[in-house]
Symmetry: C2
Subunit: 208 residues, 2 copies
Amino acid sequence: MSCKGENASAGPAESAAVGTVPPERPMRADARRNREALIATAGAAFAADGVSASLEEIARRAGVGIGTLYRHFPTREDLVEAVYRREVEELCAAADRLLAEHPADRALELWLQRFIDYAATKRGLIEGLRVIFAAGTGRLSDISGRISGALERLIRAAREAGLIRTDLGTEDVLHALTAIHAAPQGPDWRDRSLRLVQLVMDGLRCRA
Amino acid sequence: MSCKGENASAGPAESAAVGTVPPERPMRADARRNREALIATAGAAFAADGVSASLEEIARRAGVGIGTLYRHFPTREDLVEAVYRREVEELCAAADRLLAEHPADRALELWLQRFIDYAATKRGLIEGLRVIFAAGTGRLSDISGRISGALERLIRAAREAGLIRTDLGTEDVLHALTAIHAAPQGPDWRDRSLRLVQLVMDGLRCRA
DNA sequence: TGCATAAACGGAGGCTGCCTCCGCTTGGCG
DNA sequence: CGCCAAGCGGAGGCAGCCTCCGTTTATGCA
């Protein structure tokens, strides 16, 4: 309901923000601290026990009362979304870091691998990916855009450096990722997915 | 713990009979009746509220005690599996009925449409489909085989009648079904899926 | 037909998790 | 430094999970 807590990650020098409203009020220091602790703890708990992990346990481990958890995140979905959003942001930040430290094609490759690893442990991301194609279905649309934005930056850089072919675009790679996720999840899921990513990369580089 | 009531789904390699009827002992009449009522009620409840519907509510609606539910189905998964197995059996039975009442290609088309409708309401089936490709991962393998068996019967009949091309097989159609399911689930999911099924059928008939 | 008995029933009870409500604490401003 | 709203936290009510065990009943046998 009252998703006023939306003002998280209010970048001070951020120009042309991605739609988040300007912070009506800076959060009190203790509130921000508790919020951070909750998101971090919840991330670990969801990864370990799935998204139905006990909220009371999360609050306890984060060192706050259950009431505090519910004030920050009125529903379980709100908490899941916050965790999800944070992870996506980290993933996107990694794209820029990789670009700075490696040749663009290598950066793309490493990022795709990292994407697989994220998805391997956080099943939620997979569902999220599926949403990317469903045109902006509400609140998650900006997150989806963030992912394809990162991917696009990587691909454009690799293209401009002449390291990958230019007749395949962001959508094609996204599509491939979705297909990889659709594969059955067995014990060798990760290896198989990484191999497929390798295959895609080889294909992309092959007529550079 | 003393799950001796397991005789319904013990699933060891019994003789290749269609129904897994263990030779142990015929169930007492009231036990069988309650079991049936539970499966039927659970099917409705899962369809309405998802697989996390209240088990106590299911028991109440089925007119049995909660203890009875737990004796028949020690875990929630056992109940889900029983419902799932029943629905798959109905679906497969429909294949033969359709074959008897329609030309083989039309039967195949109708069955695929019916499959979509099943999957539309029972999200569990979708997960099940995904398991088909994961080679016999335990207890669900025979169910998976049942589905592809039905599909294969339909396709073979249509082929022998010269109604569909012969260069595409069961696996290809199964693969297409999986892809259709992988699509994002919006409000128009059903229509879109049915259109895709139509597309597949047109393709199958086009060079008969 | 009647009886013995194993099979099946059912719900009370203990436990855990969900979520709300409200009195107490404290960060931050004037 | 003192005020006070923003923020905290946990008690409590409710619902669902699952077990345990006393009671009921279907069925095989005489």
